[in-house]
Structures are given as structure tokens and as C-alpha cells.
């Protein structure tokens, strides 16, 4: 997947301004930047929730910018939300089943049920399968967001701060999960503020500031990048 000159403005303010990015096959790409840098906005553009005012996004040989969110999901790009948006009236299993039923076209009901169960097992949520979202711990709710997106069997998974609010042990578990997801051949883009996590699991990191791309490189290069250190790490 790659983006060229991706831009959007809200009332004259450029929230994302001519961003170029590439996500390589099987890569874990980190997306960092201070609050308001345009990270989630970029996610919203890629997932089709917002329409870019300029530039384009190419995925699997075709242009996906301009498509509706449900179509982008079925094309193989899944995402999570910063604040978990699980369905409160569904059990954990039904939440995951939704992704399996609708995320990938042409599945029978039985196939979708199998996908849901294997995804629950893979993410370690099988013990909560019959419970409602409000009855499971926060770390499990965050995992459920990931599981639901994963059940759509994406080629690209976009994670929006899935480690926020987790304790150090839970962050370790979440990092292991992201690595395992990549191990299944899924490319990952993740927005994260937990620097330790992002530095250790990402193959490459891009940094945004005021909607512009200010750095692109391996974690070691990013930590040495002066502009990033001033703007971002200096603030943290």
C-alpha cells in the first residue's frame, strides 16, 4: 500500500498535508507524532471514512482512495478505533463473528463461524467468548477491537493506539500479539504513544507533525532524527 501527496483540510486548516508513505508487504510500520499531528485523520482517509482532498492511495495495484469504508474493508484493509467501538449488545464471539461474516466476501456461515472461533483462540479471547463487552477487562476490550478487525482476514491491519491505557505486562502481551499477526503475513500500520513498544516492534517508523511527514526510517534513525527529538520526544 502506498500514499502519494495525501491531503485533507478542515475549514482551511491542513490536517494532513501532502503525505507520501509506503507500507511494504509483511512490514510493521509505526506512525508517530504529537497530538493533533494528523495520525488518526490519515487512518480515517485510508479506511475511507474521510475523503482526501488531494493525492491518492494505491493498494494491491488499484486506487482505493474514493471508495466507501465497507468496500475498503472488503478489499483487505481493516482498522481499529482509538476508543474501542465494540458492539455492546453482542457477546464477544458475536462481535468477532461480525468481522468474519461481512469483512470478506463469499464466505458461508459455517466458514465465518470457524474464522471467528480461530480468531478468538489466536487472540486469547476464547475464555470470554460468551460474555458481553461491558463485563470483560479493558485490556480484553482492546484485544477484541483487534480480533474483530482480524476476523475480516485483512492484508493490512491499522491499529490506532491499541496499547493506550494498558499496564506494562499487558503492553508486552499486546506487542507479542502484533508480532504474531505479522507472522501470519499481515502488514501492520500502528499509531502508538507507548514509545518503548513502537521502537522495539516496528520495522520502520514515519513521523507526522502539523499534518506533514517529517521523518521516515528505521527506529534507530528516528531516535537520532533531530527534528523528531525536538518536536516529539522533547514534548513527551
Amino acid at each position: 500500500m502506498s500514499g502519494r501527496g495525501v491531503s485533507i483540510s478542515f475549514g482551511g486548516m491542513k490536517a494532513v498535508d501532502g503525505v507520501d508513505f509506503d507500507l511494504r508487504e509483511g512490514e510493521i510500520l509505526g506512525l508517530i507524532g504529537p497530538n493533533g499531528a494528523g495520525k488518526t485523520t490519515l487512518f480515517n482517509i485510508i479506511s475511507g471514512f474521510l475523503q482526501a482532498s488531494g493525492g491518492e492511495i494505491i493498494f494491491g495495484g488499484g486506487k482505493i482512495s474514493g471508495l466507501k469504508p465497507d468496500k475498503i474493508c472488503r478489499a483487505g484493509i481493516a482498522r481499529t478505533f482509538q476508543s474501542a467501538r465494540n458492539f455492546p449488545g453482542f457477546t464477544v464471539r458475536d462481535n468477532v463473528l461480525m468481522g468474519a461474516l461481512f469483512g470478506k466476501p463469499g464466505k458461508t456461515r459455517a466458514q465465518a463461524e470457524r474464522t471467528a472461533d480461530s480468531t478468538l483462540e489466536f487472540t486469547g479471547l476464547d475464555k470470554y467468548a460468551g460474555m458481553y463487552v461491558s463485563d470483560i477487562p479493558l485490556s480484553a476490550q482492546k484485544r477484541l477491537e483487534v480480533a474483530r478487525a482480524l476476523a475480516t482476514e485483512p492484508r493490512v491491519l491499522m491499529l490506532d493506539e491499541v496499547m493506550a491505557g494498558l499496564n506494562p505486562a499487558e503492553v508486552e502481551d499486546a506487542m507479542a500479539l502484533v508480532r504474531e499477526i505479522r507472522g501470519r503475513g499481515v502488514s501492520v500500520i500502528m499509531i502508538e504513544h507507548v514509545m518503548k513498544a513502537i521502537m522495539s516492534i516496528c520495522d520502520r517508523i514515519i513521523a507526522l507533525h502539523h499534518g506533514r511527514l517529517i521523518a521516515d526510517g528505521a527506529p534507530s534513525e528516528i531516535t537520532e532524527n533531530k527534528q523528531v527529538a525536538e518536536i516529539y520526544l522533547g514534548e513527551a
Binding site: F49, F81, F87, F90, G99, L101, F102, R109, R148, A149
Partner: protein, 288 residues
């Protein structure tokens, strides 16, 4: 004792019809966010279709569900695909759409009602169906009332099974809870909304068929049904199907009790219940 039994059973009969009346409205509002003022006109249209089939062709009124149900599903689906979809696309935000949609639904209401008045006039219509009494525990009931209750209950149960077990049903429930999240998981949200509007039409048709068996109707009775359906839906909790069923039965039993005392104050009591409820529990009985 006989009187209590009479009120209870008649209450269940009315309650089942109220539940059926409101399920369609609830489905349309819960997912598509359209308060369909024309819902009652859909119901009356189904009653007229049934009446034509029964009096002209002599078929059993229940078979009219197939015809009226199909016609009203298509009308509902098409209305959403053309009219409401367009209004949604040009509305600046969700709240503005809800307001605009009510106005558009009012337009549909006037057009449908007047088309029916041109076709069938404004006199009261009805036909005779299962017009013999049945005795339960010493109390007398019309056989047709019990038949209506049984079928309304069956449709409520089948619709709930549809919502909880089928793929389309799950997409409807997900879209009612969080349309954005549903869409991000690949649910074709525009199609689901149109289907919900069609289902609203289908359920209105079921209500119209059953109402025509049990009481008289005319081209101007539609708004009464809409008013009752809105009361039931608000009481049950906007968008909650189970809430609508529960409040339908509560209002059916309360309404029948009040009716046996003084028919003219029934709506007054309904509105009083709503007033108290909105103060005590603003989201309705089962609203989230």
C-alpha cells in the same frame, strides 16, 4: 374475575397489535434514523389490499400478507434507495438528517393518504372474518381477536429469531448499535438501511392485514396508528425492538383497562404514561 380475564385477554390482543405496529417503525428509526410519519399509511394501504383480495377474490385474509408484504417491502426499500438516501447525502450532519427525514416522511404521508382517498374514498371499510364468539373461563371473546393475537405473536417471535440468527439480522443489529463500526467491518450500510426501511414496510403490511381482520378502517385512520406506534416506540426505548414489544403489551393491557372504564380518555392515559416515563427514564424502558 371474569372482567379481569376479559381485560387481560383483550389487552394481550391489543398489545400484540401495538407491538406489531411499532416494530416496523422501530426498525426504520433504529437503523436508518428516519421517524416514518407515513408508517400508518403503509398499514392502511395493506388493509385495503387485503380487503380487495378478500372481497374480490374471496381468499383467506392471511394470504394477503404475501401480497401486501411484498408490495410494501418494495415500496419501503425503493423509498429509501431514492428519496431518503438522497436526503441523507445532502444533509450536513446526522441531526439535520433526522429533522429533514421527518419532513420528507410527512410528504410521503400526505401523498399516500390522498392517493388512497382517490382510490377508495374516505368512508369506513371492513369485512367479516371469524365473526363468532369463543368462551374462555366464562368470558366471551371474538374468535377473530384470538386469531389476530396468535398471528401477531408468531410474527413478533419470527422477527426476533430473524434478527438474532440470520446474517442480515446481525447486520441490522450491528448497524443499530454503531453504524460506523459496522461499516468498517465490511457491512454494506446503505443496503442495510434500505432493507430496514423495506422491513418496516413489510411489518406495517402484517399489522395492516391483521387490523383489517379485527376492525374497520378508512383512508384517514393511518395517522392514529402512527401516533400509537410512536408512543409505543418512545415508551420502549427508541430503536429497541424488544422494548417496543414489551411496551406494546403494557399499553395494550393498560389501554384495554382504561377503555372499559371510559374509552375517551385512553390517549390521555397513554400520554400521561409517556410524560411520567420521560421524566423518570428518559431513554425508555429498554433504551440504551
Amino acid at each position: 374475575m371474569t372482567m379481569v380475564l376479559t381485560i387481560l385477554i383483550n389487552g394481550l390482543v391489543f398489545g400484540s397489535v401495538y407491538a406489531l405496529l411499532s416494530m416496523g417503525l422501530s426498525t426504520q428509526y433504529g437503523v436508518a434514523r428516519i421517524l416514518n410519519i407515513a408508517h400508518g399509511e403503509f398499514i392502511v394501504l395493506a388493509s385495503f389490499i387485503t380487503w380487495e383480495l378478500v372481497t374480490d377474490l374471496g381468499v383467506h385474509p392471511l394470504t394477503a400478507i404475501a401480497a401486501a408484504g411484498a408490495i410494501l417491502f418494495v415500496i419501503g426499500f425503493a423509498l429509501h434507495r431514492t428519496l431518503f438516501k438522497r436526503v441523507r447525502d445532502i444533509s450536513p450532519n446526522a441531526a439535520a438528517f433526522e429533522g429533514d427525514a421527518i419532513l420528507v416522511a410527512f410528504g410521503v404521508y400526505f401523498i399516500l393518504q390522498n392517493l388512497m382517498r382517490i382510490k377508495w374514498g374516505s368512508q369506513t371499510t371492513g369485512y367479516s372474518f371469524m365473526a363468532y364468539p369463543v368462551s374462555i373461563g366464562g368470558a366471551q371473546f371474538q374468535a377473530r381477536s384470538l386469531f389476530v393475537f396468535a398471528f401477531a405473536a408468531v410474527i413478533c417471535v419470527l422477527y426476533n429469531l430473524f434478527l438474532s440468527h440470520t446474517r442480515t439480522g446481525k447486520s441490522i443489529r450491528a448497524a443499530a448499535q454503531d453504524p460506523v463500526a459496522a461499516r468498517m467491518l465490511g457491512v454494506k450500510i446503505n443496503r442495510v438501511m434500505a432493507i430496514c426501511f423495506g422491513i418496516g414496510g413489510f411489518l406495517a403490511a402484517c399489522a395492516g392485514v391483521l387490523i383489517s381482520m379485527n376492525q374497520t378502517f378508512s383512508s384517514v385512520t393511518g395517522l392514529n396508528y402512527t401516533v400509537i406506534a410512536v408512543i409505543v416506540v418512545v415508551l420502549g426505548g427508541l430503536g429497541s425492538i424488544r422494548g417496543s414489544i414489551l411496551s406494546g403489551f403494557i399499553l395494550g393491557i393498560v389501554g384495554t383497562a382504561v377503555n372499559s372504564y371510559d374509552p375517551s380518555i385512553m390517549l390521555v392515559v397513554f400520554y400521561l404514561i409517556i410524560l411520567v416515563l420521560l421524566i423518570v427514564r428518559p431513554k425508555g424502558l429498554l433504551g440504551r
